[in-house]
Each structure stands twice: as structure tokens, then as C-alpha cells.
């Protein structure tokens, strides 16, 4: 089979799975629906591997193929194809997305089994993966927008999955609205690209961009900044980050999917995909890098303060995506994408472990309540430690290789990028602290009631059907938790998924050891061959120096966490007292929601009120009342002429004809 065929098959299976489950959901047994969904994604993953081999069989210079099923629209020179584009970058993304999604499906197969909406869940989940694959495989900006918008919709569907829970539907709407804001940026960018280049397919645009745009001209910067609006919104970077933490209202596998394999990585992919444009617009690339840096520092500090387990991990995602943004913006493309991959491994793992713990806690997510899960959930405890080690960048783990490669590249570029280097090192320290804050708060210590219950009886506690955020009683018919309690790590599916991911998180970095393997950068090289930075990379010695520095900082962070949360647990409270204003700032998420409220929501409401009270009342009402009054009085005037006397009408007609004849007679004289 050709490369393009593999690409289309990758898209086909999740779509078929989603439609099949969606149409047959009354007929299909719940477990069968789960099986269909899981098999669909696995098949897609296998086709992704097929595409990988087909791609590697091509000669290095021509490792890209565009394929089109049919032309969607055409006029003159302009054409929109329903087309896909396969090159190392998109195949890489396909493998990450489908691979991690497969494991998440396997996990969900067990994890969601007590949920009433099991079939609906799998239909959505497949559709989410399909949307992401459309985004990744798109061959032109229209397809990209299509995938982009579908991902936004799927995230809305899944975040609001428990639709009787008010906070969940609100979070879904928030995510959707912010994503649509980003979509608008993307639309404008696509229109600008078309206006300037006259084409929208990747091949033509990227080939013609250097001739069309002057370096760092306003046009290319405008395009790139609009693209960035889309990327920031989808990847939850400042200032569009507020939806991500609320998105934790969805089921845990959804969080895992959004954070690890799909959605938030889209922005990173977009910048990497459009690197020929961003390299022409260094200003925009710097904007992206600094926003990434700011996001990684700010969300890191928030992760230090909040107490909701899933939200801590959510903020850590924002932070790690910040690293990737910096990476792909400063030219460390393969490093940024490598971090995307390793992050997918350990972040999916962390969410799965968190899901297991939360299930054992009966849906309580506050880490202050959790204690002593090392004995209660030994397997989860092990993978949680592995995931946190990888996240913190402990030497030897996958996160160590990937994160420090980005950090090192910033130092290598020097100049103002040294600021980023230092910022990212600080971020690495914070990462170490907050990732082990989770570990040290949950695992050791005297077991809490729920953990004790699990150790003694072997069963997880029954969750209260109340919303942990608002304390409201919940409708357990569709809302989580279901009527039965559900498994925590006891199901084989969950163990398999977590085990595989833990292994990948531990050894996944070995594919990219500086000077030894470097598989990822070699594989991606054809995509970035045209980059200015293609031949710019730190020497092996410099890379290892960076890795050693990163490792030391990571261990320092972990040790700090140990000091704070194990050795002298009274210190954090004292610190909070000492630095109350700072703590308030962190725990209130730097007032991001309030800022958006003040900057966007309030003015929008003000405009709305103005239009409702002033414009509507005086202008619109005045206009409509005026028009209707005019017609009514005109009608009244004409009504008087209607006598119903046929002879009267005949006379009027006669006079009319006579008048017309006289007029023409006079004209003809």
C-alpha cells in the first residue's frame, strides 16, 4: 500500500468507530461499544506504523506526499482539496496521538465501566481522536481549520460529558468559547495567507512564502500572530489558559486524552508545521517563546499552590506545553516535538494514576485528604512515582532528555535567549517541587480512611454523589459516580495501560540520547531541512553539560519537595503564613479568570447592555415603528379610494388613459 493509503486508513478507523457506536448505541452492549472504540484506535495506530514504514522506504529528499480524495471547491487558480499531507512530522504526530490514545482507550474500557453513558463516551472519544488526526494530517489550511474546530467541539462534548452537572457544562462551554476565539485567529490567518500567497495548501504556501514576504515584514508577522492566537487558545497558553483547569470536570480519561495525546499539543504542532512562516517572522516567534516561558512559570507556581489533584496535573501540563512552545519557537523543533512525545507518555500516565487514586477516594480530589496510598494501591503508587520522576526530569527518564534538550538549545542560541534559559531552569526546579508534592502528599504517611478501607476490605469506598466543587447533590443516573463503585487499578485494562506508559516514560528518552541515538531528530530532519536552524545544534559535549545541569536542578527540586512535605511538613504552612499575598496570588491562579472577566466579559456585557437598552430601544424600535406607521397611514389613505363601485374604477381608468394619451401627444408635438 502506498503512503497516502495508510494515511487515509489512519483517518478512517476512528471515524468509522465513532459512527458505528453512535448509530448502534441502543443495540450494542456497553462492553462491545468499548471494544469497538478501542479496536478502532488500535487499527489506526497500526496503520500509522504502516505509514511510518512506507515513509522510511522513500528516499530522504522526498519524504513527503500530498494526497487528495476530491476537490472541495475550486474557482480560477484557487482550489481547496480534501487533502492530507504526510511527512515525518505528521506521521510522528499520528503515532503519538494514536499510540497514546490506544492506551487511554484500554484504560477507559475498565475505568468507565460503572458509568451509565459508557457507549456515548466511547463514541465521543473516538471522534476526538479522529478530529485530532484530521488536524494533524491536514494538507491545507482549510482542512487544518476543520480539524481545529472539530477538536474544539469534541472537547466540549467530553468536558460536558456529565451533562447534569452544572459545573461540567459550564466548563465545557468555557473551553468551547475560548477555543472558538482561537479559531477566529486561525481563520483570519488563513484568509491573510490566501490573500498574500494565493494558495492555501501547505506545499505551495511554504514554498512561496520566502518569495512573497520580506523578512519580518508586517504581513508575515500579522499572519503568524493570528496563527498564534489559535495556538495559544488550543494549547491553553497565556492569556487563553483559563479553560484548561476547568476542563478537569470531564472524566479522568478525558483529561488524560486532552492533555497527553490531543488538543493542547495542537498549538505546538501548528508552530512546528508552519515553521517556514515563523522563521520569516522572528518577532512573532519570539512572542510565542516568551508567552511559552511566562506560561510555564506562572502555571508552575499555581501548581505549587492548588490542592485539587487533577488541577495540579493540569497546570503542570500548561507548564510543559510552555516548554514545547519555547522549543518550537526558538528553532529546537525536534526537541520540542520530542518533549511532546515524552510528555504524552508521562502525562497520560499521571492522569491515569490520579484517576485510580480518585476512584479509590470515592471521587474526592483534594490532596489534603489523601494519605498513605503506597500500601493501598502499590501498583498505582509505583507508576505515579515513575510518572513524576519523568515529569520532574530525573536523570535517565524520558523527561530529562527531552526537557533539557529544549533548555540547552535556548542557552546555545545565546543573547536574549539566555533569559529564557534561566527562566526555564527555574521552571524545571518548580516542576520538580510540584510533581513530588503530589507524590509526597498522597503516597506515604498514615493511611486516610479511604485508603484504610481499601487495605482492609480490598474494595474501594462508595463515593458520595455530590459535586466536589459546589457540594451539590448529583444526579447519579448520568452523573459520576455511577450507582456502583468502580475499580481502582484492579482491572487488568488499567494496569496494562499504566504499565506500558510507565515503561515508555522511563525508557522513552533513550531514543534521543545526544551523540548516541538521536532517532527523533534524524527522523524529523526531512521536515525541517529547509529551516534556518537545521544545522544549528549544540555539540554533544554541550548537550551533556545541559543534561547534567538539568539533572542537578531536577534532583534539587525533588529534594526540596521532600524537605517541605516529608521531612518538616509544618514548613509549607509557615511559608503560606509568611508569604500570604504571594500564596493568595498563586492559589487564585494569578487572577487569570478575573482578568479575563474584567478585560473581556465585562466590556462584552457592557456592549450588550448598551445595544439592548439604547440601540435596541431608540434606533431599532424607532426604525421599525416608523416604517410600520408609514405603511399603515399610506394604507389608510388608499383605503378611502376603494369604493367597490366598478364604474368608479372605470372612470378613473379612463381619465388615466386620457391623461397618458395627452402626455404622449404633447411629447410628440
Amino acid at each position: 500500500m502506498t503512503l497516502a493509503t495508510w494515511g487515509w486508513l489512519v483517518l478512517l478507523f476512528p471515524l468509522v468507530g465513532s459512527i458505528l457506536i453512535g448509530l448502534l448505541f441502543r443495540v450494542l452492549a456497553p462492553r462491545a461499544a468499548g471494544a469497538v472504540g478501542t479496536v478502532a484506535i488500535l487499527a489506526s495506530f497500526i496503520c500509522g506504523i504502516g505509514a511510518l514504514f512506507a515513509l522510511q522506504a522513500e528516499p530522504e529528499g522526498s519524504r513527503h506526499v500530498a494526497s487528495s480524495l476530491w476537490t472541495y471547491a475550486s474557482g480560477g487558480d484557487f482550489r481547496i482539496d480534501l487533502g492530507i499531507y504526510l511527512d515525518p512530522l505528521s506521521v510522528f504526530m499520528v503515532l503519538v496521538v494514536t499510540g497514546v490514545s490506544s492506551l487511554i482507550h484500554i484504560y477507559s474500557f475498565s475505568y468507565m465501566q460503572s458509568d451509565e453513558g459508557y457507549r456515548r463516551f466511547f463514541s465521543y472519544l473516538n471522534f476526538f481522536v479522529f478530529s485530532m488526526l484530521v488536524l494533524v494530517l491536514a494538507g491545507n489550511f482549510v482542512m487544518l481549520i476543520l480539524g481545529w474546530a472539530l477538536v474544539g467541539f469534541s472537547s466540549y462534548a467530553l468536558i460536558s460529558y456529565w451533562y447534569r452537572r452544572g459545573t461540567a457544562t459550564a466548563a465545557g462551554m468555557k473551553a468551547f468559547v475560548i477555543n472558538v476565539l482561537g479559531d477566529v485567529g486561525l481563520y483570519i490567518a488563513a484568509i491573510l495567507i490566501f490573500a498574500q500567497v494565493g494558495a492555501i495548501d501547505y506545499g505551495t504556501v511554504f514554498a512561496q512564502a520566502p518569495d512573497t514576504f520580506a523578512n519580518n515584514s508586517w504581513a508575515i508577522n500579522a499572519i503568524c500572530l493570528c496563527l498564534l492566537v489559535g495556538a495559544f487558545a488550543k494549547s491553553a497558553q497565556m492569556p487563553f489558559h483559563t479553560w484548561l483547569a476547568d476542563a478537569m470536570e470531564g472524566p479522568t480519561p478525558v483529561s488524560s486524552l486532552i492533555h497527553a495525546a490531543t488538543m493542547v499539543t495542537a498549538g505546538v504542532y501548528l508552530i512546528a508545521r508552519c515553521h517556514p512562516l515563523f522563521e520569516l517572522a522572528p518577532t512573532s516567534a519570539d512572542v510565542a517563546a516568551f508567552v511559552g516561558l511566562a506560561t510555564l512559570l506562572i502555571s508552575g507556581t499555581i501548581a505549587l499552590a492548588v490542592t485539587d489533584l487533577k488541577r495540579i496535573i493540569a497546570y503542570s501540563t500548561m507548564s510543559q506545553i510552555g516548554y514545547m512552545f519555547v522549543g518550537v519557537s526558538i528553532g529546537a523543533y525536534s526537541a520540542g516535538l520530542f518533549h511532546l512525545m515524552t510528555h504524552a507518555f508521562f502525562k497520560a500516565l499521571l492522569f491515569m494514576a490520579a484517576g485510580s487514586v480518585i476512584a479509590a477516594m470515592g471521587n474526592i480530589q483534594n490532596i489534603d485528604r489523601m494519605r498513605g496510598f503506597r500500601k493501598a494501591l502499590p501498583f498505582t503508587a509505583a507508576v505515579l512515582v515513575i510518572g513524576s520522576l519523568a515529569l520532574a526530569g530525573f536523570p535517565g527518564t524520558s523527561g530529562w532528555f527531552s526537557k533539557d534538550e529544549i533548555i540547552d538549545f535556548a542557552h546555545f542560541r545565546g543573547g536574549m535567549y539566555d533569559v529564557m534559559w534561566i527562566g526555564m531552569l527555574v521552571g524545571a526546579f518548580i516542576t520538580g517541587v510540584y510533581s513530588f508534592r503530589i507524590v509526597f502528599r498522597i503516597l506515604p504517611g498514615r493511611a486516610c480512611d479511604e485508603a484504610k478501607h481499601l487495605i482492609e476490605t480490598g474494595h474501594v469506598v462508595h463515593g458520595d454523589p455530590v459535586n466536589p466543587l459546589t457540594g451539590e447533590q448529583e444526579d447519579s443516573e448520568v452523573g459520576y459516580p455511577g450507582p456502583e463503585h468502580h475499580v481502582a487499578e484492579q482491572a487488568p485494562g488499567m494496569k496494562i495501560a499504566m504499565g506500558v506508559l510507565a515503561l515508555l516514560a522511563l525508557i522513552g528518552g533513550l531514543v534521543q540520547i545526544p551523540g548516541v541515538t538521536e532517532v527523533i531528530s534524524n527522523f524529523l530532519a526531512p521536515t525541517f531541512a529547509d529551516s534556518h536552524f537545521a544545522h544549528l545544534h549544540p555539540s554533544t559535549g554541550e548537550a551533556w553539560t545541559g543534561l547534567v545541569i538539568g539533572g542537578v536542578i531536577s534532583i534539587a527540586g525533588i529534594l526540596t519537595a521532600w524537605l517541605l512535605y516529608v521531612r518538616s511538613p509544618e514548613v509549607p504552612a509557615r511559608l503560606i503564613q509568611r508569604f500570604t499575598p504571594l500564596y493568595t496570588l498563586f492559589v487564585n491562579k494569578w487572577y487569570g479568570d478575573e482578568l479575563v472577566d474584567w478585560l473581556v466579559v465585562k466590556p462584552a456585557q457592557g456592549i450588550g447592555r448598551f445595544f439592548n437598552n439604547v440601540f435596541e430601544r431608540f434606533v431599532i424600535n424607532g426604525a421599525t415603528a416608523g416604517v410600520s406607521g408609514l405603511t399603515r397611514s399610506a394604507g389608510a389613505a388608499v383605503r378611502e379610494l376603494q369604493s367597490g363601485m366598478i364604474r368608479g374604477y372605470a372612470v378613473v381608468m379612463l381619465f388615466g388613459i386620457v391623461g397618458i394619451v395627452i402626455y404622449f401627444l404633447i411629447r410628440s408635438i
Partner: protein, 99 residues
């Protein structure tokens, strides 16, 4: 004979017809007078056709005849309907559609 006389006859017929439509109340007579007006028009058309020396006017006369036939169908239909409902045959009484 001069062709202008035909036009004069046509004008006279038309005038008689129009006065009939305006002053009479009986719908049947009004229809007759309408026929008179249409015939006057047809006569004028024929005359013009002769004057110009081509056949266009004759074709128009055929159209006028068709229109006249259609108009009589509708008109007589109305008269029959009035008769069935025992209404007086007086057009001045028929003003229920008054605005």
C-alpha cells in the same frame, strides 16, 4: 374611401362603449359595452394594419378576440353566480370587497 373614416367609426364605437360601461348598472349590458370597446380597438388595429401595409395588426386582432372571449367567460360566470344567489343584477350593489 378614406381609411381615416374607419378610425372615426372606431372612436365612436369606443366612446359609446365607455359611456355604456360608466352609466349602466346591469352587468350584462356592461359586458356588451365592453365588447363594443374591444371591437372598436380591433377595428382600429385593422385600420392601422391596412395603413402600414403589413399583417401585424391582424394578428393583434386575433389576440384581442381571445381576450374578449376569456373576459366574457369570466363575466358571464359572475352573472350566473349572482343569479343563482338571487342577487339583483346591479353592479352598484356588489361592493362587498370594498377596502
Amino acid at each position: 374611401m378614406n381609411l381615416e373614416w374607419y378610425l372615426v367609426l372606431s372612436a365612436l364605437l369606443f366612446a359609446i362603449g365607455i359611456i355604456g360601461v360608466m352609466v349602466r348598472r346591469n352587468p350584462v349590458v356592461i359586458l356588451l359595452c365592453l365588447e363594443l370597446m374591444l371591437s372598436a380597438g380591433a377595428l382600429a388595429l385593422l385600420t392601422f394594419s391596412r395603413m402600414l401595409g403589413n399583417q401585424d395588426g391582424q394578428v393583434f386582432v386575433l389576440i384581442v378576440l381571445v381576450v374578449a372571449a376569456a373576459e366574457v367567460v369570466v363575466g358571464l360566470g359572475l352573472v350566473v353566480a349572482m343569479f343563482r344567489r338571487r342577487l339583483p343584477l346591479d353592479v352598484d350593489e356588489m361592493k362587498e370587497l370594498k377596502g
